[in-house]
Symmetry: C2
């Protein structure tokens, strides 16, 4: 069964929130208030200068990601992305499909590079995946994240030219 | 004559814009749209989770800076700042006074570190000042800024524990 990835629409918002809510509530990966409201979370993920996508498998939305300029003005040629997958999507290749889609979509949108500002150094699985896709660590922020279980951990800045 | 640095008030907004406008219009230092409106510029500088300050010399506002959390949630213990000085303030020590004030204010606000996300590597004067005050380069973003005169230049991520 193929994963279909497409731009999100208003009707997808409940499904996006169902993915984001448990991720934000744990406070273990994203630098977002753990008690963020549904409205604020969806504004953050989908609105402003963010373009949000959803990944569907057999008609069910199991993943979502956004692309946005990482800086404004004369820094607007490098994009940033955020990815989130549903618990039920583990092992189905959704995350990788979204990453590949994002690299292609960002290139089509004219971005010259992709940058992640805040990859937890302790999230070695994610770091390895990004590196396999050509991302390099270009910075390391000491004690950047106060992980609920692990305490202060570093965050990496990762970058890939498109 | 001493520089007085204090939290900004609504009445200071015209003076803040007078400082920001030429800096933003040149598009040579901040990753902000060069044609940003006065309203949007002041919202960016002073509102949301930003706390803005002004530096007065002989009753005239010649500098401004803001402090904000650099990330949300469990990343909210590191702050970010932006600084701007009026052309007429060159050589009067306003920039250094604001930097020293910001380090003290950020500490009082409970931040554990200060991070600059986007210091142009070509701005060697600024980089030297930050380093003199204990900031370290913890990252370098290739071709991060499309400088109107110099073309693509790197940006540095700089960090200092408080």
């Amino acid at each position: 069964m193929d994963t279909i990835i497409r731009k999100s629409e208003k009707k997808d918002r409940a499904a996006i929130w169902a993915i984001l809510k448990p991720i934000f509530r744990t406070g273990e990966t994203y630098a977002v208030d753990a008690d963020i409201s549904k409205v604020d979370a969806l504004v953050f993920w989908c609105d402003g200068n963010h373009v949000a996508f959803v990944a569907e498998l057999a008609g069910r939305i199991l993943g979502t990601y956004y692309i946005c300029p990482n800086q404004g003005g004369n820094g607007g040629h490098i994009c940033n992305c955020g990815f989130a997958t549903h618990d039920a999507a583990q092992g189905k290749g959704i995350a990788r499909a979204m990453l590949e889609h994002s690299l292609s979509a960002a290139t089509d949108m004219g971005f010259r590079a992709m940058q992640f500002n805040f990859v937890l150094a302790s999230n070695t699985r994610a770091v390895k995946i990004w590196e396999r896709y050509g991302f390099a660590v270009i910075g390391q922020i000491p004690d950047a994240f106060n992980h609920p279980k692990d305490g202060y951990v570093d965050a990496l800045v990762m970058h890939k030219r498109l």
